[in-house]
């Protein structure tokens, strides 16, 4: 079984009832805002938007937390890199490396952006089954002339749904493996290198085996990659129009916040 890492939590909240396309558009808008945000005010505003959406969903703090927490190593890495390698006025010196004020600011901003992205993504995944996310993306991509590039929106959707399908499987395999190595006395703190090694080598084998099995079963079922209809019927309702409009308006306000401040 898997933990709560980006997993779907059944429910009947407003976010659950929205069309997946609305939520995907919403996430895209939010991502644009997040990557543009520089000032404390913008960051705060995004935090407020998140809180509102959070309250409209039946997601728990724990679910959001358990989507961000496993990424802590990467987040710390991003923060540290910016901290040490940004030019600027030095405020502190550690191990002969300078920490600049600019570095601290940039590190915090970039890290917070990633945290926000993870948080918004967890809102989407906790309120939408992955099959519906895929259908939603496929429908949104359909009007684009992807054929020119030799791919179809259906190919992309199939690839995505497979990747999403693998996340909980790999997560489960990883937990099983971790249990097995912990039982053999694995100590992450005392021997971090050996720990990494004893977990990654079997994990890579497992992942390749799974991919192999999947490829084999697709081939034996004559998978052609042609377009197929979906069993999920998407309905863009009145509520969707309303929510997207409000969210779009909010986004526009935050987007133009830096400009407005100049007046």
């Amino acid at each position: 079984m898997t933990g709560m890492f980006f997993s779907y939590i059944p429910g009947n909240s407003l976010l659950h009832r929205l069309d997946p396309r609305s939520k995907i558009i919403g996430i895209m808008l939010a991502s644009i805002l997040i990557f543009r945000a520089m000032s404390v005010y913008e960051m705060l505003a995004i935090g407020v938007v998140f809180s509102i959406l959070f309250l409209l969903s039946s997601t728990t703090v724990k679910a959001v937390y358990s989507s961000v927490y496993p990424m802590r190593i990467i987040l710390i890495f991003i923060f540290t890199i910016h901290l040490f390698f940004t030019e600027g006025s030095s405020i502190l010196s550690v191990f002969g490396m300078n920490i600049s004020y600019e570095g601290l600011l940039k590190g915090s901003t970039v890290t917070l952006r990633f945290i926000y992205l993870l948080m918004f993504a967890s809102l989407l995944t906790s309120s939408t089954p992955s099959s519906l996310i895929t259908v939603g993306i496929e429908r949104l991509l359909r009007p684009f002339p992807l054929k020119v590039l030799g791919i179809s929106s259906f190919d992309l959707a199939a690839m995505m749904s497979m990747s999403l399908y693998f996340v909980p499987l790999l997560h489960g395999s990883f937990n099983d493996l971790k249990d097995a190595q912990l039982s053999r006395g694995l100590d992450m703190k005392r021997h971090p290198f050996k720990a990494m090694y004893s977990l990654t080598v079997p994990m890579i084998r497992v992942a390749f085996r799974m991919a192999d099995d999947l490829a084999m079963s697709m081939e034996s079922r004559c998978y052609q990659g042609v377009h197929r209809t979906s069993i999920f019927d998407l309905r863009f309702g009145r509520m969707d129009f309303l929510c997207i409009s409000i969210f779009g308006l909010l986004s526009a306000i935050i987007f133009f916040m830096p400009v407005l401040q100049d007046f």
Binding site: A180, L182, G185
Partner: protein, 276 residues
């Protein structure tokens, strides 16, 4: 010296909407030297229960003690070896020797003692010394399984827990596995086998625990189990018991189809069987 579990309650994803009660007021005790079987349907909580015995999971309430040490206070993993389903998946070493050394080395064993324990574990698993320097991934599936088992035994655990060890094995290899377990048990190691299949293992064990929806519904000897009136029995002992209960003179602690055949045919035609 024993594993003592008292009033153990455990749920996954506690205090979230995904909360799942897995164990409900489980109490049991397994002494050093015991050979026990824990059985129950898929999803009944067997794996959850054994993960408490070496501290992979900590009780939500109640206590789990190994030789008097609570598992939430101190690391007891060197005492309790755990072999999961399809253990060959845990192999990672560049050589068989490196992989088998992983466990004991983690528990602080070094030098000649380490070499000795690895050697002994390989011996127990009928692994030839010549494969020690081979990559485990070049071995056959069956040999990989033996290497993984040696990797757990090399730490010289006092208790050995095996989760569904027979899954994916054919009848012949199952027999070999159980004879190995019997041998280990005669050396004083407690063996705790988890299996949803009862017939294979029951003839070997001293005690049986049946678990259903996170509750222990039976504890006792195989004999008490076979004499019970309200429990589900595997096909062969069930048929024999029905015959016995209807007044036929047959043994009913039988799991083997050949033995059952012998019993029944001796009922039908006593002389002929005696002549054979």
């Amino acid at each position: 010296m024993s594993i003592d579990i008292k009033n153990l309650i455990f749920s996954y994803n506690r205090s979230t909407s995904l909360e799942k009660h897995a164990l409900n007021d489980v109490s049991l005790s397994i002494k050093k030297g015991d050979f026990v079987l824990i059985s129950g349907e898929v999803g009944s909580g067997k794996s959850t229960l054994i993960k408490h015995m070496n501290g992979l999971l900590k009780p939500c309430s109640g206590s789990v003690e190994v030789d008097g040490i609570p598992t939430h206070k101190k690391d007891i993993r060197s005492k309790v070896g755990m072999l999961f389903q399809f253990p060959q998946k845990q192999l990672f070493g560049k050589t068989v020797d490196e992989d088998i050394s992983f466990g004991p080395a983690n528990f602080g064993i070094k030098g000649n003692q380490l070499k000795k324990q690895v050697h002994e574990a390989m011996d127990l698993m009928f692994l030839d010394e010549s494969i020690a320097s081979v990559s485990p991934f070049d071995l056959s599936g069956g040999q990989m399984r033996l290497v993984a088992m040696a990797g757990v035994l090399a730490s010289k655990p006092d208790y050995l827990i095996l989760d569904e060890p027979a899954s994916g094995l054919d009848a012949k290899n199952r027999k070999i596995l159980f004879s190995i377990l019997k041998k280990l048990n005669s050396k004083g190691i407690s063996i705790i086998v988890v299996s949803h299949q009862i017939s294979d293992v029951l003839p070997l064990v001293d005690r049986l625990f049946l678990i259903d929806s996170g509750k222990i519904v039976f504890k006792g000897s195989p004999d008490e189990y076979l004499r019970s009136t309200n429990l589900y029995l595997p096909d062969i002992p069930w048929i024999m018991k029905e015959l016995h209960d209807r007044g036929f003179d047959v043994k009913f602690d039988i799991f083997d189809i050949d033995e059952a055949f012998y019993e029944v045919s001796s009922l039908l035609n006593p002389q002929k069987v005696d002549e054979q």
